[in-house]
Subunit: 421 residues, 2 copies
């Protein structure tokens, strides 16, 4: 059934993450340790750090954010697992997902049996101007940035192209934001552990409105349509269309399939993985989708021997709301041009056809870029183990997909996990 070319299978036996948010007093090391300890508390048995044979770190730019490169051996030393091979993988916001894939390939090769994968980013200590400048380095700084683009600008261009091509209304994007905040409100580790209604109405105001009906999507859309509450950042992307600047860490423990049961009674299996790249925005034929995501998804489905309809839920890289809408099309969950309709009709909600970003997504959970891809994997770990609390999906999902995009789509990596009975 599976068409994997890998010499052997890879299993996920542990997963953890720090709280995502803004923590001025914490460094990458603190966030990583928090995630690592959380991983140790996940489903494992018989875990000994001495068994870890290599460490793959996803990190976008501790160089710029903390003036610290060469971070992998430092973190390995910090948790006491030196002298194992330690390296950093960088593919902008896809660094975490790519690190996981590369660690899996190293296991598949036979070189290692047990590999720790980490992702971390510490972004909030810089000024917003400095963060904007640092994030700009994920684009083509020779051509795109001098032309005046910023990351909200890239996705604004894509949103404009998408709206024009598919006659999508501006409001479709708000539905993504509202849904992801609704999910994030049920995730204690989310940076915005709140609905948009809660964010935009102060406690006092809400108390005064006692007796008022429970907020509807219509109320929230009305809120979001008020430019005082939700100013445009790069039209048509408004404040609530953008994921936040975040600090956070996430960790995954991968092992060769044959050893999975030594670590946990309930391993997840990495049944599909795919990765692709692309040039900068001016090099692409179309701005209304992300070609690298489509290719990475196809590769992952082919390896897994499944089709999009076999996926029970997905964490989709919603750095901006338009990105989620393009993503659910690129991944084949909906035909091109139908993503916005799916978002508006609730098909991607927790009780919808294919729940997307039950964790809150990057939008509400937060987007510490190097950690985001592994934060997605943490949600898949929780949902597939029935440990997602109030946001737990019903019907015992068995296949979850993580879609992690770098920059404006120069990188995309897709990893698919399966729970087996």
């Amino acid at each position: 059934m599976t068409r994997s070319k890998w010499a052997r299978g890879v299993a996920l036996v542990g997963s953890g993450m720090s709280k995502f948010g803004s923590f001025l007093e914490k460094t990458s090391r603190d966030l990583f340790v928090e995630a690592y300890l959380d991983m140790q508390n996940s489903l494992m048995k018989d875990f000994s750090p001495e068994g870890i044979e290599a460490f793959y770190l996803g990190n976008f730019s501790s160089d710029l954010f903390e003036k610290q490169a060469h971070l992998a051996p430092i973190l390995a030393s910090w948790i006491g697992i030196s002298p194992i091979a330690s390296l950093r993988i960088e593919d902008a916001c896809a660094s975490g997902g790519v690190a996981l894939r590369q660690a899996a390939l190293a296991i598949a090769s036979g070189q290692y049996d047990v590999v720790l994968v980490g992702g971390v980013e510490k972004m909030t200590n810089l000024s917003i101007a400095q963060v904007t400048e640092a994030l700009a380095t994920a684009a083509d700084t020779q051509f795109e940035i001098p032309a005046g683009f910023t990351f909200p600008g890239f996705y604004a261009a894509m949103a404009t192209a998408y709206m024009a091509k598919y006659k999508a209304p501006r409001e479709a994007f708000y539905h993504v934001a509202i849904k992801n905040h609704n999910n994030g409100a049920l995730n204690a580790k989310a940076q915005f552990n709140k609905t948009i209604f809660d964010i935009l109405t102060s406690k006092k105001a809400r108390a005064e409105q006692k007796g008022r009906p429970i907020p509807t999507w219509e109320t929230e859309i009305e809120f979001l349509s008020d430019p005082k509450a939700n100013p445009p950042i790069a039209w048509p992307m408004t404040l609530f269309d953008c994921s936040p600047v975040s600090d956070g860490g996430a960790v995954a423990l991968l092992v060769a399939e044959e050893f999975a049961k030594d670590f946990t009674d309930n391993p997840l299996y990495l049944i599909g993985s795919g990765q692709a790249s692309d040039g900068a925005l001016p090099d692409r034929d179309s701005l209304s989708h992300i070609p690298a995501a489509q290719i990475a998804g196809q590769e992952a489905y082919e390896m897994a021997g499944i089709s999009p309809k076999d996926v029970d839920f997905a964490e989709v890289h919603d750095c901006f709301t338009i990105a989620e809408i393009m993503g659910i099309e690129d991944l084949g969950f909906f035909p091109r041009g139908e993503g916005w309709k799916a978002a508006m009709s609730g098909k991607t909600s927790r009780n919808g056809e294919i729940p997307i970003n039950t964790s809150g997504g990057l939008k509400a959970k937060g987007h510490p870029v190097g950690a985001s891809g592994l934060g997605q994997v943490n949600e898949i770990w929780k949902q597939l183990h029935g440990k997602a609390g109030q946001r737990q999906l019903t019907g015992q999902p068995s296949i979850g997909l993580a879609h992690n995009v770098g920059g404006s789509g120069q990188t995309c990596v897709v990893n698919i996990f399966e729970r087996r009975e």
Copy 2:
């Protein structure tokens, strides 16, 4: 014979490098293209870029040097090989060697058959203060740098410890510099394509000295002992003990062993590979050697089923002269404390027991950090194919080793290549 755990073997079928040096008008992209074209001109037949399935880039910090992160997909797009999976590997000055190892693991896993590995760094456009600050990020910037260390300082501490422990004279280090410049003088791609004698005596002065005997090692040592000609940088490391700040790119093409002959009649085989990490300098028991290098070397020898005496020549990471002396001990070519004697007695010269850094090493060839590890591989490619020109080793060497260190030894990777008849 071989004890490799890899699911299949990996061969090197092409190698290229740009000229190393200071090129203010060039970017990383230019240097990479120069290396890529040089690779295309190496021994291959039937090469088509369409066959490349993934791109692994070693780069230390284009973030800081060029304000460009996410460089792997940009370079892939630049040479027209998108949408293949493209990623950057960062382990400070070991980035190139680690990228090669990770690419090899991806082939060994069965995922890819043909992988392009690149390494690049563009360092010379920054001021020396900015370069020093950028390089400092390869150390522990939370503890080591605030304590006043710079990279010459780290290696000065190691040199001092080494001298104290093994009663090595200061002059031993000069022998490394003189040898590597003698080799670099025969390498047109070296940043310093000159002997130290040539550097320290102007053309005019040399003309006036017509009839004077050919410069001896004694003459050069005398030159180097003059602090006006060779000022101390961080005692006991002087100017000529330090590798330069450089720009450069290097490229290697790796394929699954079974396809090697489709690319060239004379592939080299990656018979051994090892990688290890370590904490910062204050975490180590000893400063007179680099533990990660010893571990990486042992792992590589074990995989290859060989011992140090089977190695015909090696490129050893001589970011500072003391680093080469520690390296030849860490790799088992000489017992601990004997490296300095080997250097002084010519055992590491081209006609010595084990020729070290026939390319000129980082010292004379240059040290564009992300490219250095692949620059080493380029020398192995040339020597094993008998194409090293005036510096060609005699006796048809068949096994060459590359030793690539990150930072002050937080990372080391060793790769061993073999030519088979």
